[in-house]
Amino acid sequence: MNIPSNLKYTKNDEWIKVEGKLGMVGLTDYAQEQLSDIVFVEIIPGIGETLDQGESCATIESVKAAADVYMPVSGKVVEVNEGLPDTPEVVNSDPYGAAWLVKVELSNPGELDGLLDAAAYQEFCESRLG
């Protein structure tokens, strides 16, 4: 299970990579593994839309389940990964790289403090695996 130390995580298995005022959001390696083969990705917001923390930003569907991806923080969408819906399998092969979903300008960077760091997320994943 790959959990990069430079990212922040949520208990709903999203990651966020923060660079200055921008945050890039995606689904974790643990989540893609649990979902198995991803067959469909739909990114919900368009550029310029403002999303609240916890608002749904994408729907990901695998051969056995459908999952919503929620915003780890609030922010204004500055970029969406437009190519991803055409190559949904990338969520399985490169969850922290090519499978990013949206890039937002953080509205409230303070929200980052409420997220999990890599160690805490690792512990959370292990507790679920039993």
Partner: protein, 449 residues
């Protein structure tokens, strides 16, 4: 194997919820109503029961005994005997998509072929395994459009010329939801064409629903409406009579995004309360928002053609409350009837039946229009149904017609203010020239009384 609850289970459950006895759960029902005395007649023998049921059945007048000019959403068409012979086969005789679907390849293949034919007929890319009837299919279109825009467009424009019962079902489905229904609350004159709906469009409009033909039998080309709806950012749903699609342009060709319909004309008998068949087809881009079962074709591990239920992550057993609809029940047996009917007739056969309907209806309309006291109110293109203004209340005329063995048309005054004395007359391939002439004669006689 099924294991019922044991006494110990029941006691544990009662303890958990803090109730002494099962009977305590029914305290809310007044004692007198809990175990009312049933005044039932003494038991009858099988022979007596059959005789009684037969008497009741014979008390009905049906479209088989009468010459029928009644349509309004359900039509008296001829069903080839092969339809019943095939759908009553034991291998097919279930209303459901099977719970272990892939083991029933024949059923899945039949549904796949049904989907393919309906998609072709409507001009859509995908079609689901069906809904209950034409009304619930429209309601599912409303759900789908709402889900497609994630609740951000909650206005739905219903043409007042869409079947009144379909509109009623949509109201039932959307009651207590944020969906706002407009268009049939007096904003638009029901006799107007589709252009009258255009001023109702705005950025909040997620869906516009029209009939094809509409409730009055009229056929409109909805190209301009579709363009206006798309410009406003919404979707266009067309509730079609599949029989009419045998000869008129497919809704997909004039820009419809969703095509629903009542499948009853395709080999399904007239019956009060159904079972009927809800058609539902849409464009590929909306397939993941579509409700209902969907059969797909694939190959198995030996490279052989095989059928599967596909894209099931749309459905509520996986997507839970996020699913577009919590209904995935279909009308499997009626869908089978429709596919057998369509396969038997073929493209040309369906066209021929549709044209028979069209020509006979036009002959009837012209003949009635020639009667001095009747006025043909339909001046647009129409399929197999048209509106006539009568000199007397429709109920009164229908009584006279019934005395002559004729089931008269639908009384539009029931649903539309200002349409008192308006009769909706349906003519199908089942009506002979003599039938039509008898109708015209009796109508003439009634107005002279």
């Amino acid at each position: 194997m099924f294991f019922p609850h044991t006494e110990t289970d029941r006691e544990a459950m009662l303890r958990t919820i803090g109730v002494q006895r099962v009977a305590d759960l029914f305290q809310a029902v007044p004692a007198a109503q809990r175990f009312p005395k049933l005044e039932l007649p003494s038991a009858m023998t099988e022979m007596e029961i059959l005789a009684e049921l037969n008497d009741m059945a014979w008390a009905n007048s049906t479209a088989r005994d009468l010459i029928s000019f009644l349509g309004a959403g359900a039509y008296n068409h001829y069903t080839p005997a092969a339809v019943d012979a095939i759908l009553r086969r034991g291998e097919f005789f279930t209303a459901y998509t099977p719970y272990q679907p892939e083991i029933s390849q024949g059923t899945l293949q039949a549904i796949f072929e049904y989907q393919s034919l309906i998609a072709g007929l409507t001009g859509m890319d995908v079609c689901n395994a069906s809904h209950y009837d034409g009304a619930t299919a429209v309601a599912e279109a409303v759900n789908m459009a709402y889900a497609n825009f994630r609740g951000k467009k909650n206005r739905v424009v219903l043409s007042p010329a869409l079947h009144p019962q379909y509109r009623e079902v949509v109201r039932t489905y959307t009651a207590n939801s944020p969906i706002v229904l407009v268009g049939d609350n007096g904003e638009v004159d029901p006799e107007d064409g589709p252009e009258a709906l255009i001023p109702l469009l705005d950025g909040e409009t997620g869906l516009v629903v029209v009939g094809y033909p509409d409730f009055f039998g009229r056929i409109f080309d909805y190209t301009e409406l579709a363009e206006a709806v798309h410009q406003a950012g919404g979707l266009l749903a067309v509730s079609a009579n599949p029989m009419a699609l045998g000869m008129f342009k497919a809704p997909g060709d004039f820009g419809a995004d969703i095509v629903t319909g009542e499948g009853q004309p395709l080999g399904i008998p007239l019956s009060y309360g159904g079972p009927y068949l809800g058609l539902f087809a849409t464009r590929q881009e909306y397939v993941r928002k579509m409700a209902g079962r969907l059969v797909g074709e694939t190959v198995d591990n030996r490279g052989q053609r095989a059928y599967v239920l596909t894209l099931t992550a749309r459905e509520q057993h996986i997507r839970r409350e996020k699913a577009t609809s919590n209904i995935c029940t279909n009308q499997g047996l009626m869908a089978l009837a429709a596919v057998v009917y369509l396969a038997l007739l073929g493209k040309n056969g369906l066209r021929q039946v549709a044209e028979l309907n069209y020509h006979k209806a036009h002959y009837a309309a012209e003949s009635i229009a020639n009667l001095p006291d009747y006025k043909l109110m339909t001046d647009d293109i129409f399929f197999n149904e048209f509106v006539v203004r009568c000199p007397l209340p429709v109920a009164e005329i229908n009584e006279h017609l019934l005395e002559h063995g004729i089931l008269g048309g639908y009384d539009l005054g029931q649903d539309y203010a200002g349409m008192e004395n308006y009769m909706l007359v349906a003519v199908t391939e089942m009506n002979s020239r003599e039938d039509i002439e008898t109708l015209v004669d009796v109508l003439a006689e009634v107005s002279n009384d």
